[in-house]
């Protein structure tokens, strides 16, 4: 590699903008946002569907760090927003009181409450 090419590569690397932080990561630093995400989860998702006790039902546990449709925050947001056709998972887009912001808060709550080790104890909520 010529000196000029090396210089160009270094300049490009320096100019590369970092991956934008997902709203869920911002909310993760805000206890009130995580708490609201929990209450939305409690109010809509945890009764007959996703167990808060890390128990696998026909709806999967969401506290074991195992994701069926992608593990990025954006993937989880997408599943909550659009639902999963052919399953009991409905699309929550346009339903929650504060719209997309509430979905991101749920993602933040799931991140905060997950226990990734084997034999995980019941997730806090």
């Amino acid at each position: 590699m010529s000196r000029a090419s090396l210089l160009l590569a270094l300049v490009l690397l320096a100019c590369k903008r970092p991956e934008p932080e997902s709203p869920a990561q911002v909310y993760l630093r805000d206890p009130a946002a995580v708490a609201r995400g929990r209450l939305i989860f409690v109010g809509n998702c945890g009764a007959y569907c996703h167990s808060t006790q890390n128990v696998e039902r026909d709806a999967p546990s969401l506290f074991d760090c195992e994701w069926k449709h992608g593990s990025r925050d954006a993937d989880i947001f997408h599943v909550i927003s659009e639902g999963v056709p052919g399953t009991r998972m409905p699309a929550w887009k346009g339903t929650l009181p504060e719209g997309d912001a509430d979905i991101w808060r749920v993602v933040a709550y799931l991140r905060s409450a997950s226990v990734c080790k084997e034999n995980a104890p019941p997730a806090p909520h």
């Binding site: 929990r38 809509n44 009764a47 007959y48 569907c49 167990s51 128990v55 009991r88 409905p90 346009g94």
Partner: protein
């Protein structure tokens, strides 16, 4: 072009063709399968020797042993067979006469119906089978093609058919009501009761009164406005609809804050009862919505968690009684109701009794709805006591909270639950009630309503079930006093239905996959049969050509089993077992 060029050219074309053919050959040939049949009609009419089922046949207090023509056994819902041959002694001689697979998963909650030597039984996901009741031979079959994305809180059950004249009638998970010629399996009519995508479904058997097929909707977890309907059994034409939540300005609307009644739930998903003497229909209602967040619906939330007495010809209300005003536990009001004529405090009285999901056994005067008594029938009840007017005095600790730690008993499933039946032996004055003994931590969250989506507002943390502490009882309760005479205990909740016999037997089953028979007087188990599948069905008995049969649907739904009792290894899959005594 030279000769050699021609040869090379042809070779190239051939090679390309081979490559293309090979590439195509990698694709599997498309196999055209014929469409899967969903409806098999009888080759020749069946059960024709018996005439149409009449109102007189339905009215009798004791149904003859050669038939079982109502979900509840009779209009009083006793599920008590007059067969004296089924005794604690003879039960040991029961053996399998035949068995039949439904081919479906999910809970097999049906009560079979038998008439004219033919058994009509439904499975989860709405298959309907007509079987020779003596041999199990399949006579006709219908597999309903339910719509996509069903709105089901708790599984895909169906609890059976009603028989009216020569029609058998089934409700479906996508909220159709369909009538079939009982002899041929031909569809006589098919109507849409409600838009299932709005959260409605039908899981109950219809109740037949005065040539009306009466059935109510499920959907309390979707914020529907509950109702039950009466349809002309001959044509399917709508006759009346009874909303269980009042509309704007109607009596009871002021028991809901603001416009919360518009999505108030109060489904009517179970089976009613009928008193021919007073011509009164009794129907029960379920939880207000959202289930666990009552903040937006302050008030008693009429007519949720209630029993209504009505004129069956018009649907007009005669009286009502609300068991759990402002329910925030999902206790419902719609477990099986029994209509009993017996002595109460030494005087003959016409009673309506119910082991309510909220853990109390209620005794009402069914002529006017007057509250007479409520006693706990569970070993664990701490959410409330009942005052002398029948109104709960709620334990404040039991109220759902955002950070609750309190174990509230019973669980939201009960106690007893409307998805399974008890039975009543009028000779012994005992009612037999299966139940779950489990407590939960009720947590309140943020509600969000959108038509067709779950509308819950909180959750019941299944702490006992997850810890393996949930268990079950089958209790024998004195009909009049509510005192528990005996309990049979199982390590998991008892969620199978019940049959009583005039010979002093009680038949039920366990989630672990055993059918059991007990001595009605003592509760002692006198016979067990390993069915393999968890029992969620409603057993019946009948006699044909001098032989006594007991039919028991088995097969449970893992998700609800786990919810009620913790993770289970018992596999799903419906199987109907039919046992017989030796001739």
């Amino acid at each position: 072009m030279t000769k050699r060029s021609w040869i090379w050219g042809l070779a190239l074309v051939f090679a390309c063709g081979q490559v293309a053919a090979a590439a195509e050959g990698e694709q599997p040939a498309e196999i055209q399968l014929p469409p899967v049949p969903t409806h098999w009609k009888a080759e020749k009419p069946v059960g024709g020797a018996a005439g149409p089922v009449t109102q007189d046949m339905l009215n009798v207090a004791v149904t003859p042993p050669d038939r079982w023509i109502q979900y509840g056994g009779n209009y009083r819902n006793f599920r008590h067979s007059p067969i004296k041959a089924l005794t604690p002694e003879s039960a040991k001689k029961l053996s399998v006469a035949w068995a039949f697979p439904t081919g479906t998963t999910g809970q097999f909650e049906a009560s079979p119906v038998v008439y004219g030597g033919v058994m009509y039984v439904t499975s989860s996901y709405n298959r309907l089978f007509a079987l020779d009741a003596k041999t199990g031979e399949l006579l006709w079959r219908y597999d309903h093609k339910n719509g996509e994305n069903l709105r089901l809180c708790c599984g895909p059950p169906n609890r059976g058919v009603g028989i009216a004249g020569d029609l058998v009638i089934m409700g479906t998970l996508d909220a159709h009501l369909i009538a079939f010629n009982r002899k041929t399996g031909e569809i006589a009519w098919d109507i849409t009761v409600a838009d299932y995508k709005a959260g409605f479904s039908l899981t109950s058997a219809p109740l037949i009164v005065h040539d009306l097929a009466i059935i109510g909707v499920a959907g309390g977890e979707y914020g529907v406005r509950g109702f039950f309907d009466a349809y002309d059994a001959k044509t399917g034409k709508a006759v009346w609809r009874k909303y269980t939540v009042p509309g704007k300005g109607e009596p009871g609307a002021d028991s809901w804050a603001g416009d919360s009644y518009e999505r108030g739930g109060a489904p009517a998903w179970t089976y009613g009862a009928y008193d021919p003497e007073s011509d009164t229909l009794y129907w029960t209602t379920g939880n207000p919505a959202p289930d666990w967040d009552g903040d937006g619906r302050k008030g008693d939330n009429l007519y949720s968690d209630s029993v209504l007495a009505l004129d069956p010809k018009t649907g007009n209300t005669k009286w009502y009684f609300q068991f759990t005003p402002h329910d925030v536990w999902d206790y419902d009001g719609n477990t099986q109701i029994f209509l009993v004529d017996t002595k109460f405090d030494g005087k003959p009285r016409k009673l309506l009794v119910q082991a309510n999901r909220n853990g109390f056994y209620y005794v009402l005067d069914r002529s006017d709805g007057k509250f007479l008594r409520a006693t706990p029938y569970l070993e664990q009840v701490n959410w409330a006591t009942i005052d002398d007017k029948g109104r709960p005095v709620v334990n404040p600790d039991a109220m759902p909270k955002e950070d609750s730690k309190f174990r509230t008993c019973p669980s939201n499933l009960g106690g007893m639950n409307g998805s399974f039946t008890g039975a009543l032996n009028p000779d012994l004055g005992l009612v037999f009630i299966p139940s779950s003994e489990a407590c939960q931590v009720f947590t309140k969250g943020i509600s969000a309503f959108k038509e067709g989506l779950p509308y819950l507002g909180g959750l019941p943390d299944t702490v006992d079930a997850t810890a393996g502490k949930a268990y079950g009882n089958l209790a024998a309760i004195d009909v009049s006093t509510g005192k528990v005479k005996w309990r049979f205990r199982d390590n998991r909740p008892m969620m199978g239905g019940t049959l009583s016999t005039a010979g002093g037997l009680v038949i039920s089953g366990t989630l672990e996959g055993e059918v059991i028979a007990l001595d009605a007087k003592s509760g002692k188990v006198v016979w067990r049969f390993r069915s393999g599948g968890g029992m969620r069905g409603q057993p019946i008995a009948y006699q044909l050509d001098g032989r006594t049969y007991v039919a028991v649907p088995t097969g449970s739904f893992s998700t609800m089993d786990s919810f009620a009792a913790g993770v289970t290894k018992v596999p799903e899959g419906g199987t109907l077992f039919v046992f017989a005594l030796p001739k």
